[in-house]
Symmetry: C2
Subunit: 335 residues, 2 copies
């Protein structure tokens, strides 16, 4: 793995304004082939970084660096690329502008074409918000993206997903110490409430009922809930909400030329596409993945039948769904 | 409708201690038949009162007072029966003891047998937490309960349901003004966060996607979320958490003689039973209703196929699912 901080200059934003002196932290594995035909883009997910995605990359894996040049750009706002928590003073913290998924793709496009010299992508893939970015790539740069495999994500943030995010955001913002983002000390109560309110959404009824959290080392539901609280203490509150903002607004048909016509937007996709929702995902739902897959010419909907809910696709977390995703990646890449 | 405040004296509690000078506010419709054979119990739900259940009661309805004697006891903690918000000083507010669903049934049993002189129930029914109470009745007093029709509820609170409740509770408790229940002014931020975090759970993906909230008079998702916030401002925070506590612990197999063996507990039910989950209920799930129905001798599982999620069964809210529930009640009562 090679890690670079890549300066991208000022980045004009979809919702107006400019992200000043934007930069991405980018991890790459492998070597770009002379014809540039072996590049794979694998963007990060909410609360994830390149280290999280690294769990799916390695010799003998579907994402094998001996064969593929794999690029993992950290999402803007994840605390590793430019984010509220690390931006220069003028745009730090609550002053950080709204950065959309499309803005992330614009930054990544600069990275790929101007810095890395990549002519096309053999595959755009990702889990959750990573999948959302992969979708945006395939709609916005259809010739560039040869194959698309979003898992446990969706092209747009559908309204139930938006409502879910409103709930966890409200739990965080309820902490008076959050001060509308102008906190000095971390709003610990709010971060804990965010994590606790999130947990119930992340898995399936069967996961909770059968105590499958024991596979993750948690002895009880309460232990799992506390782990979710603790995990969120490691994140900056403004960073989290920056990502939630991007997530909630995600819609490749927003604005011209599609003006909200999702079917028209997804009809642009020319990539060979396998869409992999989890059957029990509570917010990136199977039914909405099916709607989207039907809008993409020739796309295959291939559900991951799993009790792990949204987390079925978490890189490296659960063996069985990982095997399904990696099998589909191999198949897609070999075709 | 006739409303009475019924004094029940000290009520010993499942988790220890005593609820002092307990009382229920009880609404009744109709007249008890000479043989006592026409009594129907219809307990209230979370944030509901007898006025909410009244929307399903009336001439020509399945619950017709000209034929049936319908009893709606307000749940302890709902602000209308004895509750944290209205108890005498020694047990007011945060000092209110933990009152379980079984405790509610104990109070209701006193009401029915000692005050109203009811020898048996032709039907125990209810929505959501009302259904949970009806289940507890049928397990604990099988001879007493001739028919059982729980809709959008379950016998026990399954772990996903518990996790969901942990989330909304955390959102409320995140408000520093809640002061662990010792607030003077209402913790408005927390109540709003509770309502906003709850809303996403209450309906289905299709409900949000197709904007079915317009049927409720809300023009946008944000308007719906605000209505959920506003609705919760009308409730006392300790009252809400008292009910959530009862809900989370609900389990008719808890303690002796079943010691957690739910199948053994539900095998006690002799009532003719129709179990009516909504196909899209996110927390009183179809799959867990199916597990429970299979444990009851002769019970029928009859899902309500509806996009309204948990709220499909809300008394008087949506015509189509109401018609299904009322049809089933008629059928059960005529058998």
């Amino acid at each position: 793995m090679k890690i670079e901080r890549v300066e991208l200059g000022d980045l004009p934003l979809e919702d107006g304004g400019v992200l000043e002196e934007a930069w991405l932290t980018v991890a790459t594995w492998g070597t770009l082939a002379p014809d540039g035909g072996n590049a794979i883009l694998f963007p990060t997910y909410f609360t994830g970084s390149h280290l999280s995605n690294a769990r799916m990359i390695g010799p003998g894996r579907a994402l094998d660096p001996s064969q593929w040049f794999i690029i993992v750009p950290n999402m803007i706002g994840n605390g590793v690329s430019i984010s509220p928590s690390n931006a220069s003073l003028r745009q730090a913290g609550a002053r950080f502008p709204r950065v959309s998924v499309r803005d992330n793709v614009r930054a990544q496009h600069r990275l790929l074409t101007q810095v890395l010299g990549i002519p096309r992508l053999a595959l755009a893939t990702g889990w959750s918000m990573g999948a959302v970015q992969a979708w945006q790539w395939a709609v916005e740069h259809p010739v560039f993206v040869e194959r698309l495999l979003p898992f446990c994500g969706s092209a747009r943030c559908w309204p139930l997903n938006q409502a879910f995010l409103e709930g966890v955001r409200a739990a965080l913002r309820c902490d008076v110490d959050f001060r509308d983002g102008a906190y000095e000390a971390a709003p610990e109560r709010g971060l804990r409430a965010f994590g606790r309110a999130y947990c119930g959404w992340a898995y399936s009824p069967r996961f909770f009922r059968e105590g499958l959290y024991r596979e993750l080392g948690h002895e009880s539901l309460e232990a799992l809930l506390r782990a979710w609280e603790d995990d969120h203490l490691e994140h900056d509150a403004n960073d989290l909400l920056c990502l939630v903002d991007a997530w909630q607004q995600a819609d490749p048909s927003r604005g011209p030329p599609f003006d909200g016509d999702l079917a028209a937007a997804l009809a642009q996709v020319t990539a060979r596409t396998i869409v992999m929702p989890c059957t029990t995902d509570a917010y990136f739902t199977l039914e909405e993945n099916a709607l989207e897959a039907a809008m993409v010419p020739g796309a295959e909907l291939r559900p991951i039948d799993s009790p792990y809910g949204h987390c079925a696709g978490a890189p490296g977390r659960f063996a069985a769904p990982m095997a399904q995703v990696e099998g589909a990646i191999r198949e897609l890449l070999s075709g």
